[in-house]
């Protein structure tokens, strides 16, 4: 009896048709299409059902109306590279660990998740560090209210959990053996790994579904086959121009879908990146250096990539940049010559494309997830604040509530977290 009642209740919730909600009067930046001066956004059941100028959007009769006059609405921000929630990937036993999933290590009560929402983030690629050539499988999460990590996952149409693979080259992944000591050795180890994976992939194909002919299960190889089949994008930490070219060379050899991350020297090889049709997940650091590989980084990189026709998004690499300051990168990039539409797109839709989630998130369009933020002013202004962050139709950050505001501005209790056992994130995230 009890069980039956429970089932009935769940059914009722699932099929309920909550009233639509309309936010009216705001300046809307849909990313897809021109900015709307006084617009209306209508959401229902976690999805956007309408967006447009006030006179062009019909608001259903039973809608809850919220007056957002004088405010700015744009899509929830997407961070294509972050280390929030104290996750860790590979350990120090080997330089290549494609079997390791950051999914199995995330603390959903980490304060940085709340801070990320306070910064307007709604979708985040949580990655293991860059102290390995390959440090494990990354996880794309929605910053929903969560009791466990399962509540934050993004399921793909084929049932898999959305995420990529984290790789790195340059100095961070150089250590004592069995780690590589030079750049050439780094590349050789990676090529050797892909060759083995191709072999495994062929054995699986040759078995043609016959279990008796299948090779023994191998978690390392299974992770890599997903990469070879293009089902798992490689998120590749790389700084120097020559390291960027090595990533492109290996991606071409093994037909890998790759995204260049950080890419401090990308401005030197922008045309080569454009020709390879590879996107960049970019970070803008306040000053050059901090490590030798980053000595030539500059704020102008975003504008140079735009001119060369390279698609790019911004990332925080939190804790390198606090998630609350992701939006600031767009302002700094515009300062250094980037166009406004590309800057705002790089916080949202371009990152959604980099994660392969552009059908669901990244812009305000009917049918997409109701992930959006309400700002007090223009997103490129230093003086604007994120007032509200909505994830799939639920308002999960509200600056007017003291308990939420704490995470927006900081103060006692805003940063008291469990230790991160990976040990390398703070040192080698960038």
């Amino acid at each position: 009896m009890k069980r039956l009642a429970l089932v009935w209740l769940c059914g009722a919730l699932a099929f309920a048709q909550p009233k639509p909600v309309a936010l009216t009067g705001a300046h809307i930046i849909p990313i897809a299409g021109a900015e709307i001066d006084r617009g209306t956004l209508v959401i229902q059941n976690g999805k956007i059902i309408a967006v447009g100028p006030a006179n062009a959007v019909a608001i259903p009769r039973d809608t809850t109306r919220i007056d957002a006059s004088g405010k700015v609405i744009m899509p929830g921000l997407v961070d294509s590279h972050s280390h929030i929630a104290a996750g860790g990937g590979a350990d120090s036993s080997a330089p290549l660990q494609p079997d390791v999933r950051i999914l199995d290590s995330i603390n959903v009560r980490d304060s940085r998740i709340k801070k990320a929402r306070a910064g307007g983030l709604t979708t985040v690629n949580i990655m293991p560090g860059s102290g390995h050539l390959l440090s494990g499988q990354t996880l794309y999460v929605k910053l929903r209210a969560a009791e466990t990590i399962d509540d934050m996952l993004i399921k793909l149409p084929d049932g898999r959990i959305a995420g990529g693979m984290k790789m790195a080259n340059g100095t961070n992944s150089r250590r004592q053996p069995p780690f590589p000591g030079t750049r050439a050795k780094s590349a050789a180890l990676v090529r050797e790994m892909y060759v083995k994976a191709q072999d495994y992939q062929k054995k699986v194909a040759d078995a043609a579904g016959d279990p008796s002919k299948m090779p023994p299960r191998d978690l390392v190889m299974e992770g890599l086959v997903e990469v070879l089949e293009g089902k798992r994008v490689v998120h590749h930490h790389t700084h120097r121009h020559d390291d960027i070219m090595t990533v492109l060379r290996l991606a071409r050899e093994f037909h890998i879908n790759v995204v260049l991350h950080h890419a401090s020297d990308a401005w030197m090889v922008a045309d080569e990146i454009a020709a390879a049709k590879v996107p960049v997940s970019l970070i803008l650091i306040d000053s050059p250096g901090g490590k030798e590989e980053a000595k030539d980084l500059r704020l102008e990189t975003a504008a140079i990539l735009e001119k060369a026709g390279v698609k790019f998004g911004f990332h925080t690499d939190d804790p390198i940049i606090d998630s609350r300051l992701l939006i600031r990168e767009a302002g700094l990039a515009v300062r250094a010559g980037l166009s406004r539409p590309t800057a705002l797109r790089a916080l949202t839709l371009s990152n959604a494309e980099i994660l392969g989630l552009e059908d669901r998130i990244g812009s305000l369009e009917p049918g997409k997830d109701a992930d959006f933020i309400v700002l007090s002013g223009d997103p490129l202004s230093n003086y604007s604040h994120v007032l509200e962050t909505w994830v799939e139709g639920a308002k999960l950050f509200d600056r007017s509530k003291p308990e939420d505001r704490l995470y927006a501005v900081g103060g006692p209790g805003a940063s008291r977290d469990q230790e991160d056992i990976s040990g390398e994130i703070a040192e080698e995230a960038f």
């Binding site: 901090g290 000595k295 202004s381």
Partner: protein, 409 residues
């Protein structure tokens, strides 16, 4: 020839032709009165000659005139390690911390400062003309800081105060490594008290007549001890003790120490200041607050973007700083740290004061820099809009009446 050198030569030539230069701004923030609309700053021989509305200040004939939307005094970074910590972050360019002993006040920033460090030109291009720089946090007493202009071929040319403060650090950041003292907070304070007591005795012996002085050498004074000499200068009030402490108990310890030995203390970091505003106010000690965007980890876990506004409301003298960064960004950009404080509780002019006139007062250099007034140094920063907006640029920088940057940043 390198373009940078060419530019430098061009500036030198221009300044030789016109010892006089005027800057005209749509808005001039003098920090010595209300902002002036359509204001003019005339400089001659490195100093400000006159400041005022264009209608009242006559620009001399033949004087070079530079236009800007907004003009402010050259920015003053109240505490940094730029010039000691190099941008490559490799062992050969890191001079900001000596760890061989916990107490080394005899180390001087002027012996470590690299005037060619690229970060100096970088921060200058964002308007910084004066920096209080020196040994970074990390040792109980790490050395003597200095105040420089962000120009000069040598450390001596850059320095305007060759020995400014003695830098100390309390709390977990300055604990000894591998069972070496200090291993606890209590030990840190015990070691510092012991040091001040020894220095007091040293000073007393120096003042005694030679006949009564057993330790005296043949010149009638005890043997020189550079370490005690430096601590003695703090005791005599010639130099403040700059105490980096983020946690409230460490800030309170610094105040207790200061009162016991009658020291001039400058509190630095002070992330926990909001817990103990009354105690800090009562002490009379000023605060060089952590960068507004500092990461909230470790001893600074309680920091808030709004702390500057709390110090302001409490009436505690304070300035903002870029502090020291061990990784990336290798330095913060001062104007953006003030900008973030302006977006989090400070007014525009309060935030600007924290990196100009209030920083100058805190560092004791307000007679030379920090505001645009006649007879002060010709240090100016020019912008094409609100300096605190990400999308406006610093378009020019003057130091001692010479244009040192025309980059659009």
């Amino acid at each position: 020839m390198r373009p940078a050198l060419l530019t430098l030569l061009a500036f030198t030539a221009a300044s030789a032709l016109a010892a006089q230069v005027a800057v005209r701004g749509d808005t001039v923030y003098t920090m010595a009165g209300p902002p002036i609309h359509d204001g003019v700053v005339v400089m001659r021989d490195g100093k400000i000659e006159s400041v005022g509305p264009a209608a009242q200040v006559k620009i001399p004939a033949g004087c070079r005139v530079v236009q800007a939307k907004v003009v402010t005094p050259g920015l003053i970074d109240a505490h940094t390690a730029v010039g000691l910590t190099g941008y490559l972050n490799q062992p050969q360019d890191q001079e900001q911390l000596e760890k061989s002993a916990p107490i080394q006040p005899e180390l001087r920033a002027i012996d470590s400062y690299d005037p060619d460090e690229p970060l100096i030109a970088y921060v200058r291009s964002f308007g910084v003309t004066t920096m209080h720089t020196g040994h970074a946090p990390g040792a109980l007493i790490s050395g003597q800081t200095m105040i420089v202009k962000t120009r000069g071929k040598t450390a001596d040319q850059a320095a305007i105060v060759p020995a400014a403060m003695v830098a100390a650090t309390l709390g977990e950041e300055s604990l000894g490594e591998q069972n070496k003292s200090p291993g606890t907070r209590a030990k840190q304070i015990s070691m510092l008290r012991d040091e001040f007591i020894k220095a007091k005795e040293y000073l007393a012996k120096q003042e005694k007549p030679a006949a009564d002085n057993k330790d005296a050498g043949n010149k009638g004074k005890p043997a020189r001890d550079l370490r005690l000499e430096a601590v003695g200068r703090i005791l005599k009030g010639e130099m403040p003790l700059l105490v980096t402490a983020e946690r409230d108990r460490d800030i309170v310890s610094a105040i207790r120490l200061g009162k016991e030995f009658n020291l001039r203390i400058v509190l630095d970091g002070a992330a926990d200041a909001p817990f103990i505003l009354d105690r800090i106010k009562e002490s009379g000690y000023p605060v060089i607050l952590h960068p507004t965007m500092k990461r909230a980890f470790g001893p600074a876990e309680n920091l808030s973007f709004e702390t500057a506004s709390k110090l302001q409301t409490a009436g505690i003298p304070y300035a903002l700083q870029t502090s020291f960064e061990g990784y990336v960004p290798k330095t913060r950009v001062l104007v953006w740290e003030a900008a973030w404080a302006a977006a989090n509780g400070l007014t525009f002019e309060q935030a600007l004061a924290s990196i100009t006139i209030n920083a100058a007062r805190l560092l004791g250099i307000e007679k030379r820099v920090g505001s645009l007034e006649a007879a002060k140094d010709g240090d100016l920063a020019l912008y094409d809009g609100d300096p605190f907006e990400y999308t406006s640029h610093c378009t020019g920088v003057f130091i001692d009446g010479q244009q040192v940057s025309d980059a659009v940043r």
